[in-house]
Every structure is written in structure tokens, then in C-alpha cells.
């Protein structure tokens, strides 16, 4: 028979850990909106696995014309299964190019195909993939995506290569990608395979692993495409893009509000991501001392982070200000890091010092502390998926539910609903391509169709009704007679079991910044260079600094050392 208490005791002996940070501290939007990628990020897991398998990428099909329009297929064996990225490159009118979900055409479109596609498969896909949401797909397709060129950079790189010279490194740094994806769809969208099909497969069982694999293959395609166009433009003169530049060219991404409801709709998954990250932090904070080589590694990384921050330049005024503060704080925090880390409990000391700094600095320190601790951290990445669905606990007493609400939802109980600012905003789905959007309740149409993200109001209404009940009576009877409360009761009871399941902020308040939710989720993906374009959408870069396909099979190449990448400016 299992003994959970004994298991916890043994685990703590094996991996001693400090106390976890409180959900009331961590699950706040301003802190979540300051997260950075870490070695737990999904892209890092994908690359580690690819590298451990020395996965070889082949390109069995390349049918592109001189201008780079046509189709291509990339293939690899991963976790014992063969996957193919089927890519279509299309000529579109410049005025039709937009990163918004409402777009109808894209420069290129992709599917991750399960296995090796036949010619008939590719023909079928060619008729559907470029149409994206308007197309129809089968369960042989695992991920659907599309991307637009960064026109300015793409043309500049083509022209440079066609002249036989490498592009100016400064323009590579300024943009960081040749193409940016504008959507990456998985889990059954438009008929593609449900996640259930792949969730047990080696390499794809973690969250978003199929999507991350797809984006990495798309990055390969963008590199090949730019070289192809340059070669066709100047046969015999054009040169290939330098691998060092290629590594710094990731994939851009434009991300809007669509990501935000995901965090609300998947509370157990959110909990698991956060719990793993917090557990990893707690393990590192407990370390008594560091080996000299580990200290050297931290010193090296501290310098790299400082350089990365210098290269992180965005036009957004708010984010620019935050980056400027962060640069200064980083210098102060890590200026004498070598001697700091020779003291006892060095990482805990560093973390404590960071508490006086901005949230950006605090959360960057979290990712920094994890980076050299693969032995303590990497195994936790296997715990980031979720097989548990939120469920009611019919046998929970009303009294206990009230206790749990006070324990986990004080932030909601503190919201003053009589203040119009407390519910100024509402989340909704637009008829237009079903894009999630945010409205002003007092100015915009559609508040009656709002999504159930008004958690504070729902909790307060629940509490109001619970107070009239016998505290010894059961949830089952309460929801029988009050079925409209089923949604919030399920959330409250889920949070009682999964403490990081709920964002502990008012998501419909006038001061809610959705960009914070986007950055949190994107940091778990591994995105860097957050480049906000408003308070509700951002550009980011994926896989910047990541290994190229050829690097995976190079025994001398460290495929796991690309956190906070820096380009050497010549």
C-alpha cells in the first residue's frame, strides 16, 4: 500500500527543497507577466530529446520555384516514430499580409504529418493547408501552422547572400527571425488529431511538444528558403547563410489574446507548470554550497544574460523602461557573483537579494538559478502535463468548501464589485474567425456573451449562497439545487487540490493587462525577446540560439546551451 507521507519524506531526502513560494505571491499577473524562459521551457525539452536521440532531419521533397514558391517535406524519426513537416510556400499580395488571426492568406503554411505522406496526401494537404481554418484535416495531421515573412529582413538576407556576402549582423539582431508564425494549432482543431493520439508517445507526451517540434522544423525551412531564393537569384555567386547567423535566426511569433483564455480553461495544467517551476526553484534554493565549476558556469551565464539584455531592444515604451531597469539591476545583482556564490546557501542568498528588485529581475533570477542545475531540474519536466480534469467533489461539505475559498480566493473576496472598475472589461469570442477579444463593459457590445473569466464575481455569488446553507451539508445537494454554480464550485474545489491552478487576480478589472498572461504562457514555451505591441498582443522569438539540424548529430556540440542567446557583434 502506498504511503504518501513516507514518499514525500524520501523525496525530500533525495531532493531537499526550501518552502515553495506561496500561490498568493506567484499567481499574480504582474509577476507572471515578468517570467523568462528556463531550462524547463518546452522548447528546451524538445531540443534535449532531439539531441539525445541524435535525430537526423532529411528533406525528401523540395519543389520550389526560383522565387521560393512551391512545396517541401522535412522528415525525422523522433521517439521511434516518423514525422514529416509538409510546407507550402505561396505568393501573396503584400497588402493581404497580416499577422492577425483574421488574415486569409499567408506566405507559408505547414502541417506536421504523422508518418510519411504519400503524393496523394501532399496533394490533399496542398488543397487545404494554405486555407488554414477554412480547410479540413484528418487525424494523420498533428499540428497546423502558418507563417509570414519578415519582409524587410528576408529580402535583405536574400540580397546579401546573392551578392556572395553574409548579411549585416546588426539587422539579424534587430529582427531575429526570417518568418513569424501567426498560429500553431494542435489538439483536434479543424479535424487534425486529438492530443490523445500522441500523448503516450515518447518525445511528444509533454505539453505542446508536437507544436514545438513543428516550429523548430519550420525554422529549418526558413533557413533553407532564404538560401534557395538567393541561390536562384545569383547562381554561382550566392553563398549559404553562416551557421552562426542561422542559429541566431529563430522563428518570430505574433501572439494575441487567444492564448490568455487557455490559462483560465486549463487550471490543472497551469498548476502543474507552475508547481514544477516552483519546485525546481525550491530545490536550488536549498543547496548548501556550489562546486567551483558550477560557480564558473553561473559567472559565465551572468555575463551572457547581461549581454542578452543589451541586445533586447523593443519600441514599446513600457517594456523599454522595464528592460532599462532590469539591465541596471542585473549588474548590481551579479557584479560580484563569483564571490557571492562561494558563501554558504549561495543561491538562496542571491534570490533573497533579488527580492529588492523588480519582478523582471526576480523572475530572471529564478530562470538563472535553474539553468546550470540540470540534475535537479530536468526530471521535473516530465511532470508538466496533466491527465486530470477538473472535477466536482460531491462529498465535500459546504463548511470545508467555505474554508477553501477563504484559503485560496481571498483575492477574489477582496474585490469591491460596487466599483465599476472591478468589472470594466469582459472577455468574449468574436464571430470573426472566433478570435478571443476583450471589451469594455460600459462602451462595447457583447457583454451578455462574456466568457466565464469573471472569477471574483462568481466566487462572491457562490459565497453569498453558501452562507445560507448548513455547513455540514454536501456539495452534491448544493449543486443539485444551484446548478448555475457548478462551474465555480468545480474551480474552487480544483484549486483546493492544485494551489497554482488559478490566476489570483481579477481578470475583468480595469487594470488587468492580458499581456501578462501571454508572457507567462510564452515563457513556458521558451519564447524570448518579448516585444509588446499593445497591452494585448506581442511579438516574440522562438528557438533563437537553438541548435540547427546538423548540430544535433555533432557530438562536440552542446545542444542544451542556448538560454538567453547572444550574437557576437563584430
Amino acid at each position: 500500500m502506498r504511503n504518501p507521507a513516507l514518499e514525500d519524506q524520501l523525496l525530500n531526502q533525495l531532493y531537499p527543497q526550501a518552502e515553495l513560494r506561496s500561490p498568493d505571491e506567484v499567481m499574480k499577473l504582474d509577476r507572471m507577466g515578468s517570467f523568462f524562459p528556463s531550462r524547463l521551457s518546452f522548447m528546451r525539452s524538445t531540443i534535449r530529446r532531439l539531441a539525445s536521440e541524435k535525430a537526423e532531419v532529411s528533406r525528401p521533397l523540395w519543389e520550389l520555384d526560383d522565387e521560393g514558391f512551391g512545396r517541401a517535406v522535412y522528415q525525422l524519426t523522433f521517439g521511434g516514430n516518423i514525422y514529416s513537416l509538409v510546407a507550402f510556400s505561396t505568393s501573396i499580395k503584400p497588402e493581404m499580409r497580416t499577422d492577425r488571426v483574421i488574415a486569409e492568406v499567408w506566405d507559408s503554411s505547414f502541417v506536421l504529418f504523422d508518418g510519411i505522406p504519400s503524393k496523394q496526401d501532399i496533394d490533399r494537404l496542398e488543397a487545404n493547408v494554405p486555407r488554414q481554418e477554412a480547410g479540413r484535416f484528418l487525424s494523420s495531421e498533428l499540428v497546423l501552422s502558418r507563417a509570414n515573412k519578415s519582409v524587410r529582413l528576408f529580402e535583405q538576407v536574400v540580397n546579401s547572400l546573392a551578392r556572395g556576402v553574409q548579411p549585416d549582423i546588426h539587422i539579424i539582431v534587430a529582427t531575429g527571425y526570417l518568418m513569424r508564425t501567426t498560429a500553431v494549432y494542435g489538439n483536434g482543431k479543424f479535424g487534425i488529431a486529438d492530443r490523445a493520439k500522441i500523448e503516450g508517445r515518447p518525445g511528444l507526451s509533454g505539453p505542446f511538444q508536437a507544436e514545438m517540434l513543428t516550429v523548430w522544423l519550420i525554422r529549418n525551412f526558413t533557413h533553407d528558403l532564404v538560401e534557395h531564393v538567393a541561390r536562384c537569384k545569383a547562381p554561382g555567386i550566392a553563398v549559404p547563410l553562416d551557421d552562426r547567423l542561422k542559429r541566431h535566426l529563430g522563428i518570430g511569433n505574433s501572439t494575441g489574446l487567444g492564448m490568455a483564455p487557455f490559462l483560465v480553461n486549463h487550471p490543472v495544467l497551469l498548476n502543474n507548470w507552475m508547481m514544477v517551476r516552483e519546485t525546481a526553484l525550491a530545490r536550488t534554493l536549498k543547496l548548501d554550497a556550489l562546486l567551483p565549476e558550477t560557480i564558473a558556469r553561473y559567472e559565465h551565464l551572468a555575463c551572457r544574460v547581461g549581454a542578452h539584455l543589451e541586445q533586447w531592444i523593443v519600441p514599446d515604451i513600457r517594456q523599454s523602461g522595464r528592460i532599462a531597469i532590469l539591465r541596471n539591476e542585473w549588474k548590481i545583482l551579479t557584479g560580484d557573483i563569483g564571490s557571492q556564490l562561494m558563501l554558504s546557501h549561495p543561491l538562496e542568498r542571491l534570490y533573497e537579494r533579488a527580492k529588492a528588485c523588480s519582478f523582471e529581475a526576480q523572475e530572471l533570477i529564478v530562470s538563472f538559478l535553474l539553468e546550470p542545475q540540470s540534475g535537479l531540474v530536468d526530471g521535473l519536466a516530465d511532470c508538466m502535463s496533466s491527465e486530470v480534469e477538473p472535477r466536482l467533489d460531491p462529498s465535500m461539505s459546504i463548511g470545508l468548501m467555505m474554508e477553501k475559498i477563504v484559503e485560496n480566493y481571498q483575492w477574489a473576496l477582496d474585490v469591491d464589485l460596487s466599483d465599476p472598475a472591478s468589472h470594466k472589461q469582459f472577455w468574449y469570442v468574436s464571430q470573426e474567425k472566433l478570435e478571443p477579444r476583450l471589451g469594455d463593459r460600459f462602451e462595447d457590445e457583447g457583454a451578455e456573451l462574456e466568457l466565464p473569466h469573471d472569477i471574483a464575481a462568481r466566487v462572491k455569488a457562490l459565497v453569498s449562497d453558501l452562507k445560507r446553507e448548513d455547513p455540514h451539508s454536501l456539495t452534491a445537494g448544493f449543486v443539485m439545487l444551484n446548478p448555475h454554480h457548478r462551474y465555480i464550485v468545480r474551480r474552487v474545489q480544483t484549486t483546493a487540490l492544485f494551489p497554482y491552478a488559478e490566476i489570483r487576480d481579477n481578470l475583468v478589472g480595469g487594470n488587468c493587462l492580458p499581456i501578462d498572461m501571454l508572457r507567462c504562457k510564452l515563457s513556458f514555451f521558451g519564447a524570448s525577446r518579448f516585444d509588446p505591441k499593445s497591452d494585448r498582443w506581442t511579438r516574440i522569438t522562438l528557438y533563437q540560439g537553438a541548435p540547427l539540424a546538423g548540430d544535433l548529430v555533432d557530438s562536440d556540440y552542446d545542444a542544451d546551451d542556448w538560454w538567453m542567446p547572444v550574437v557576437e557583434l563584430l
Binding site: G188, A193, A196, G256, P394, S473, H484
Partner: protein, 235 residues
Amino acid sequence: MLRSLNETLGELRKAALGAGYSAGLAEDISRAAGELILLGLDGTKAFLHAMHSGPADTTFRISGTTSFSPAVQENVRLCQRLEIFDLDVASHGMSVFEMITTEPAGTTCHLSKVDPLILWLAMGIAVAKTYQCKFEISIEGQGIFSVSPSRSFSALQLERLAKLPECADADLVLVNEPGDEASSGGAVAAQTDAGGVRVNEALWPQISALAAKTYVPSSSISRNKGAGAIVDDNE
């Protein structure tokens, strides 16, 4: 046409919202309809029947010592009998099963005019999977149906289920047996092996029409301000 389970459940959930049900109920109703679809039964029709019936005026009556209470008289819960009249399956169907799981085995519940009956049975399947318990459901004139987490139905049983009347009286008993080992993924695995699920395509436009009621009509304000991005963001 094959559909993914996720998109099917998502559309059903939105349709329930569009029909006016609350968020929690929409999740429950869509899940139950999904259970029917996974069994190859007409979950679409059952779902729409529930939506079009609208809420009934369900009444509850308790025979026995207490109702819904765990701890009366020295923490002894007494076996009791619950009677429910004119069960509105969409609003209360899942709760009936959940409630009986909190009571001692052998607790019975008599329900009159369960409508739609097949959707309520599907809710029993969903609850059995979630809480790893077993029910026996006796339906007037139709015999007994056993529902458990790992329950798989024979072709003959599925045929019986498909021919159930839309509305009937039923008796529900919580069986005094431990739950079978979890196998809730069985039907999903079968579905993924098959490449998707099939819905009643003739009726599906009604589902889509209900789902569309949850979308806010397009406008230029919504397009720009609501998404916080200008349309022309090209570079």
C-alpha cells in the same frame, strides 16, 4: 465526415451555452453527449432534444431520514430513498448521479419522466468514470442497465440503448462494489485509432447555429480595439 473529439466537444459546449445553459452545465451536457458519440450512438440528437425541451420544473422529494447530508446523528448516514419528478436532465442529470455517490451503497433514487433518457444514462457513464463507481439503472419496460467505469457495451446492448424511449421513469441504485479499474481512456483510444468520431451530420448545423449564438458580431471597433492590434501590422 470524421471529426476530432476535441472539436466536437468544444462545439457542443458552446451550443449548450448558446442555448442558455450556464458554463458548468454546458461542460456537463457536452461531456455526456460526447460519451454517446464515443459509443457510436446519436449524441447529437439527444443533445438537441435536451436543448429544445428547455428546463423542466424538477421537484425533489426525500424518503428517509435526511437529504444530501453526510453527518447526522453521530455521523451515521442512513440509507434513504430520493424521488425526483420531471427530471430536467440538462440541469440536474449529472447531479443525481453525483449525489448518490455520496450516499451508502444501496441508496436508491426513483426518477419520473427522465427526458432525454439516453443523455441522462450518458451522464451516468461520465460520473462512473470520474468517481470510479458503479450504478444499476432500471428503466421502466426496458430492463436493467449496468454502468461502470470500464463498462463496454455489446452490439446488442448498444442496440437496446439506441431504441430507448426519449422519456421514461427510472430507478437508480449505487451498487456496493468497488469501481472497476480505470479505463476511461478506452473509448477515446478507440476513437483516435479510428481517426475521429462521427456525429449526426444532418443535425449538426443546428449545433453550429446554437454555438454561433455565443459569438459577438464583428465590428471595426471589436476588430481593432478588442484585439488590441491594428489590422495592418505588416513589416
